[in-house]
């Protein structure tokens, strides 16, 4: 049984559950993989066979290189700030390419983000008003 006090939270969960999921934590494995991200951040962990390549790249749907970083031994990559869309994640060395996988970035709904923002703003305004009012009356 769920306590009544959690009713608000339960509704809140139902509202958000289908939309909010954790940031994609990418575990590299053999063969191309499909990744998703809801906040434009992608984490690629290091794999020993990556050392055969010199550049890590993310390619957008038009085939343009969106980001390109050097390969440093034993270090993975965290790429952030990607806009909505589909991308290819690959490693290159001279003319040789290795496809790590594809990533689909679909950001959280703006409507839900603003609802949460408004809830926070209201509660914050109430806290500030409480402090101002109490300090004014009890000074």
């Amino acid at each position: 049984m769920q306590p009544k006090n959690l009713c608000f939270t339960s509704n809140y969960f139902i509202l958000f559950a289908g939309i909010l999921i954790f940031t994609a934590q990418v575990i590299a494995a053999e063969g191309p993989q499909s990744f998703t991200s809801n906040d434009g951040t992608l984490t690629i962990s290091w794999q020993s066979d990556f050392s055969n390549f010199t550049q890590f790249q993310i390619i957008d749907k038009y085939g343009q290189v969106q980001v390109s970083y050097p390969v440093i031994a034993e270090q993975g990559w965290v790429v952030s700030g990607l806009a909505n869309g589909q991308y290819k994640v690959q490693l290159t060395h001279q003319h040789k390419n290795y496809l790590i996988g594809t990533v689909e970035v679909r950001h959280y709904s703006l409507k839900i983000a603003f609802i949460l923002f408004a809830l926070g703003a209201l509660m914050f305004a109430y806290l500030v008003l409480t402090l101002i009012k109490q300090n004014g009356t009890r000074a």
Partner: protein, 470 residues
Amino acid sequence: MTEFTLASSNALGILIIFGIVWIVWGWYLGRNNRTIDDYALAGRNVGFAMATATAMATWITSNTTLVAPQLTYQFGIWGMLGYSMAALGLILFAPLAAKIKALLPNGFTSGDFIYRRYGKASWIAFMVISLCYALGWLVSLGMAGGLLLSSLSELDYYTGMTAILVICVVYTLLGGLKAVIATDFVQSIVIIVGVVFIAWVCIDQVGFTAIHSNLTASQPELLNLLFPAAIMFFFNNVFFGIGEIFHSNVWWSRAFAFAPSIGKKSYLTAGLLWLPIPIVTGFIALAASSLNVSPPSADMVGPMVAAALLGKIGAVFIFIVVFSALASSMDSLLAATSDLLTQDIAKRVFMTKASSNQLLKINRLIVIGLGLSTWCVAALKLTTLGALLNFTGAFVAATIWPIVYGIYQPKLSGGYAALAMAFGTAAGLIGYFTIGFYVAAITSCAISLAICRIGIWRSQSIFTWHSLQE
């Protein structure tokens, strides 16, 4: 390993010099401590400059130097601004600090207040929350020391973690709050000069135009003001910061330690001075793509960009700045948590008639015990820094309203305050595990507020403030 990685001998040299300076200074400052008041509350007479510096330096933690760049790297402009809003915790605590000092002129801890204001049930809930948070923060600081050292030098995680713990435990043990406040003063100057210098070098070497055009091309969402995840993060972080400050004995012990009429001014000034620091530390993360830096872990982006800008000298520089930030928080937390355990557990539960000397000895033993416990948990490296910190948000945000109403609203009873803390924390944890860290603190705070309001609405009793002073 990168070109800016420090050799083991150089990193060890810096650690040893650092350790000796802080420990000798701690011993020098603490040599005249005679009573528990001297040791735990610096004689209750800390002046404005020291008070402001210690409040600001303590709030500049591993979060500010490692997590603010991380959040900027992940959430862009909103991440940078959102993180700086943690200053609101200090600013809003300013009027509370004055009121706390007036209500409890001889008080010792935040637990002390909760016990006298709300009774045992609330006190138990509060102590559980407070100790979970304190241990979480201590472990995160130990982990940050280990991560910092292993990312900038050839030394391993365990050496860095052990070094920061040993140095802070020894000088806190020798000097008490006096040493903590004095070292915080110096550390705050090192930190501010350091972050401003790095930001200046970043602007000078990379430039706003290059940063903007690189972000537009490769990380466009970081410049987008309608970035949904970042908008969600904003107020959650505000309430996390407020909860951390409102409940923690780190800030209450300072309110008791500051001279009369100093607390309000100091917390307000410290908050205003702290406000731009995450913007400065966060800003350098925006230069990462321009410098071809992609961190293996998002929380290492700040040190990596600084080291890429300044080379090996930069690695030494960032090492000193971040180590100062870690030390300034860890010493404060060790001192405040040992006070809480001494006064609220040892004295209240086990040794009600203990003398000042006995309490002083117990306090020192607790500092050592806390250091050892922190080492044991941090050595396990169970989770990431960010995950550990955000987890505590569910706990601390549940205490905001019981603290505020405890100070200003006489109608809230102990039973409802306990329920607000317990159910608020539970709701925050459910939010954390089922949705994500974006909602943990805000959910916890909202549920806690709802229960407090019901408690006030149904209240039949009125608390009399002067009973706090008995």
